[in-house]
Structures are given as structure tokens and as C-alpha cells.
Symmetry: C2
Subunit: 401 residues, 2 copies
Amino acid sequence: MSVAAQQPPQDAAVLELLHRYRFERPVHVTRPTMPSREDYQRSLARLWETGWLTNDGEFHQELGAGLARYLGVEHVSLCCNGTVALLIALHAFRITSGEVITTPFTFPATIHALYWNRIRPVFCDIDEKTFNLDPQRIEALIGPDTRAILPVHVFGHPCDVEAIQAIADKHGLHVIYDAAHAMGVRYGDASVLEHGDCSILSFHATKLFSTIEGGAIVSRSEVQRKRIDYLKNFGIEDEETVIGPGINGKMNEFQAAFGLLQLEMIEQEITRRRRLTEIYREGLRAVPGLRIQEDMPGVRHNYAYFPVLVDPERYGRSRDELHALLRQFNVHSRKYFHPLCSHYPFYSALPSAGRENLPVAERVAERVLCLPLYGTLGEDAVEGICAILAGLRSKPGEARA
Amino acid sequence: MSVAAQQPPQDAAVLELLHRYRFERPVHVTRPTMPSREDYQRSLARLWETGWLTNDGEFHQELGAGLARYLGVEHVSLCCNGTVALLIALHAFRITSGEVITTPFTFPATIHALYWNRIRPVFCDIDEKTFNLDPQRIEALIGPDTRAILPVHVFGHPCDVEAIQAIADKHGLHVIYDAAHAMGVRYGDASVLEHGDCSILSFHATKLFSTIEGGAIVSRSEVQRKRIDYLKNFGIEDEETVIGPGINGKMNEFQAAFGLLQLEMIEQEITRRRRLTEIYREGLRAVPGLRIQEDMPGVRHNYAYFPVLVDPERYGRSRDELHALLRQFNVHSRKYFHPLCSHYPFYSALPSAGRENLPVAERVAERVLCLPLYGTLGEDAVEGICAILAGLRSKPGEARA
């Protein structure tokens, strides 16, 4: 970050905007959705009665069943967090060596889960519009050691699941989806989680749907679900039988009880975020140099994030400059995902990590900024942020697109 | 288990005992220690105010500091569970290949954590009295691929830490202690956790001290603690810097708040269990064929478990038969640890897993039975269990030892 970006010039236009639009209290980029405390205390009372605090308790069972119903899927395995879910999912299919083709435009957990399973990530470039793996670039990366493809439904926008499956089928590869962002997303008539060999969800506190920490694996058959369920509980079949080398990936009852109450709120939360997203879109669509994502045909979105791409030429400011300026307005935005995973020191030496191989991902990571979005955010706050973003454009003389 | 063990003969003596001592309601082998629900609700109120549910929140910080104070150690890293703590600890020292010498007499997590780090376990026999690794048997198992020793303080009884350290020093090996049972145990003037390169604690609901699920790594220097702390949080240093391939091993605020209240109760819990242990010892010391563990000199025990060894010759019944009979009395005991980890199908083919190499462990696993023990268990219940165990001995004619 340049010095200029850290301390942006206080020109008259910015001062005028600050005067009009600066928020008195910080607007965070996200806030956890909280169920009613009274409801949660009622759930706890049950735990104090039974003393059953973890290990497939009644809230765990109810949440597993409730999620399956809500998502319209059959096989759900709850986990302590999304990263451990991904570790277990890879292990379930014995993807524990060789190479896996994946995206550099993701949270570090995606790539680290490969590392912990002794898999070398092979970075593949992404699509300019969806920010997801570009299927056209996958096949050239397949080699003798390739075991699987690990795509991410970035910001909940579905990957090109048909094209990816066709490649996987042609080459005999597994497909494990990192669907950490894709809770509740539907594609056509079905959950987007019903693609590939399995899908991983994250229920971290900052997610649309949360179990404080948490995650799940949505698998495609009873056989798979059973294998996953024993892998997450030490491989224990019964008191005297351990059938495989499992770890501890269990979700506890305090998490599951929290999730059950969240499940009652999720549709309201999505509706609320959709409304805020519409306001953002209306307010920003016409600002030259800011690119927003629109709904995709045939997709039921979850509106988990609101990313914009900042074109420094047309907007007149870089993403970093805008990020720093927004702070002055008490608006917290997030460079999500920046830097690319291919830039981390211990992956950057991989042949596939070279900047020249990932031009789209490099450009998106330099330009992306996620704006505040959560159910309890006010509509006026979103309107204010739009006004700030429109006002901060530093080429006011140029005609608007 | 034989049919006879499943349906023990209802001889007159047993019927008479059942008539006198059968418990109306099940006596579980353990029950979680619960803090006051009102106190926990007060902690939750704070979380509902701040919305800070995980990621090094204030309860997390308080519990880390509180545990360090209570244990008299400097460096504590909290984790989502003890198994993930062990995975991370091994990774922290780059013990991620080759062989590690360990005990077969442990919970599966100990060995599975090696497997997930691609380490081959080398099983070493145990000491007849402490059930811990027999230091005399370790050296013969060291070879060119040996990386570390992973001893377990079984039932909270300290290993022979000096002898183990001397061997490790001589051969340049790491020592990672599985101290899942050893919360609060002191050896000489210090915590038993201050031995080896680091120690792992488990705070699972069934443990003496619990954070619902949970665990911790006690390390020996600030440098180690920092490495562990980034490994448990995706290797994230700050918003834009990822310095290493970490996973998600975070303890959340709901767990930490629970743990803080438990910390206020732990001394009372240990005192209570010590009293119950004394009653067990008084009641069983003179029963021929039952062997109990006594306090070790210089050790401050935590009384986490009460194991007995059943000698089938002298007691007149096998451990399995006794376990099944106790069920008829509504007493739940546990064959802990049985079977040995070296018997699990995916480890049993290892050269070190042969029964002939592990005679003591084999014998202990065939004979051990953990009796009910938890703070809220009544003294009269323990006296009743002692009477049942004395009465069930089926060689009543023989002189008592």
C-alpha cells in the first residue's frame, strides 16, 4: 500500500463528502446473525437437564435433519468447522497425495486443507465475471498426478458445474466443491450442493448461516455419508470397534442448538440481504469504474456478499485507496480475496503460481472490495455508502457510462 | 464377548446382591461437570452485546490467561478439541513423516493424529503399575526413521518423564506428551505439562475440566506458542499476510466462556473426586483379584478416573463378565482402553503391533475396567459399587489377600 493510500489527500470534494456522509459509528463489513437470546437459553436449559453436550446429541440430530430438509439434500454430516470438514472430505475419497486443481481466489483454508492432506495445489485461473474456476483453463493443467478438482462457489455464485463435471468424467477425477459461501444457493431445480462428489459448507460466525464455528459435508450417498461420519468421530463404530483412522470433527450441542435457531431465520436473512443488494446495485450500477455482480439466470442466490471491482483507470482511484478512504467514513470494507493464495510464501514457488498463469485472478484480486452486508444493516446505511462511492470517484468531469 | 458374559448366570449369591444393591437409576461412568446455568447465561449476554463469537475474543483471552495461571505454565494455546491440538502440535515441530514411538494403551485419537500427519506409529509396551510407556522398552524401538516419542499420561498418572527425556536427548528425538487426562496434575514442584517439547490437553465434555469440546497445547517458549497460534488460525498474521499453512483449530467464545466457569470449579471437583477415590480404595483394597492404583509419591493427582484391574483367576470372573454383571446392577463401567490401538484393523499389520511385543499392554487391556467417577456421584453410590464388586467375587471360600 502506498503512503498516498494510507493517508489520502484531503481535497475539498472528499472533505465535503465526509461532512455529509461520514458515519458516526463504525459500519462493519459483516455482523453475525444472532437468534433471540431467550430462545437460545431455552435450548441450553435442555442441555443442563440431559448433560449431553456433544457426540451426536439431540440438537445435532435435529440440525442435520433440518439442514437436509432446508437444502433439499439427503446426506448431511455436521462438523466442528468448515476446514476440518474439507480435510475429512478429501480423506473420505482418499485424495491424500498427488495434485488437485483449484483456484487461487479463495480463503486460505481451501489450499491449506490440500497441504494438510499432502496434496500439491495446482492453481487454475478464474472467470472474469463469476470469479470461479474457468473450466476452459482446467484441462491443460491435468497431468499424471492429478487426483481431483476443488472448485469454490465464490461469493455463492455457482461454478460452471456441468463443464467441470464433464472434464472430471473424461479424466476420471474427483470433484470436491468448497461451498463455504453457498448455503441455500439453488441452481435450476436443485441445491447447488448436489454437484460433484461432495460439497463443503462453512458455518463460521461471519457466514450467512452460522453455528458459531461450524461446517458440514453434503455427500451424495448413504455409503459416503457413513464413511464421512466415522472419519469425523475417530473411526468409532461402537464401544469396542474402531474401523478407521478418524479424527475429531464433531459439532457440539451448543453449536447445533445455535444453528437450529438460525435455520428459522435464514429465509428472512436472505430476503433482507437481497433487498440491500438491490439498493447497492441501483446505487452503483451507473458509477463508472465500479463493476458489480448481477443475478445469474436460473440461480437462486443467497446474497452472502457484495463485492465490487474497482477499475483504477475509470474510477480514478485504486481499490487500496478506496478501501483506506472508506475507513475515514467509518465504513469497513474488505479486500476479499487479496492476496491470492498463490502469493503466500509457501505456495508461491509452485510452477502454477506464476502471475503470468493467472492473469484474471491477479486482476480481480487487485480490484475486488467487499462492501458491508448483513441483515441488520440499515437501508439508509447502504444508500449512504453508495453516495460515498459515487462521490469518491475522482474523475467527475468524465461522462458516466 | 462370550454368550456367558452377555447373560451371566443368575446364581443365588448374585440374586441376593441384586436384591440388596441394584441401583434404581443408571449410574453412568462419567457425567459432565456443569457450571451454574445462570452464570453461563450472564456470559452469553456479553456475547449477544458484542457479537464477537469466535477468533480470539475476550473469553478466549481470559481462559488462556486463567489456565496458564491455574496450571502454573507460561504458554497456552486453546484449540477446538484435543485431537486437532495434537495434529497441530506434531505439525508445529514438523513431525510429519517417519516413525513415532507411542503406546497402544490409549484412546484412538493419539494414534490417529499420527496417521493424519503421515507418521507410522511404533507401539511400545507399557508399565504394569502406571499403564504408561515403559522407558526400558523404548530404546530398542528407535531406528533411522524415528522422529519423536509420544507418551500418554494415562489416567493422569505421570510418565517417567526424566527417563523418557534422557532417551530423547540421547537420540535427538522430540517428545510430545498426550496429557489429555492430566489437567491439573503436578509432579514435584511443577505442572507435569512442563515436560517434553509440548503437552496436549483435552477438554471434552467427559473430562475433569471441560469446554464442551476443546483442548489446548502447553508449549515451552514464546516462539513455539506463536508458531502454534498461527497454525491454528490458517497461518494468518494480519489481514493481508498469511505466513504458513495453518488449519482451523480455534476454540470459540461459547466454549471459552464455559471453560472460564469450569475453572472456578475445578479444585472443588478434584477434592470431591479424591474423596470418592479414597472410598473406592478403602472398599476394594482388600478384594482379592482386584488391583487398584494408589497415589504416586511426589505427585499431585487429579483423580480423573478410577480404573481397576480384574485378575480372572483370583477374582473368579473375567473383566468382561464383571462389566456385564455390573450392568444388571445399573452400574455403567467402561473397558477403557480396550481393545488396544494395535488391534485396530489398519494398525494391526504393523510389525510393532504383534501381541508378543506388547505383553503387559495386552494383559492390562484384557483386565482394565474404569468405574463410575464424577463430582456429583454420591458417596453412598461408591460404597454400594464397592459392596457389589466385593460380593460378585465368585471364589468366596478363598482367603482374602
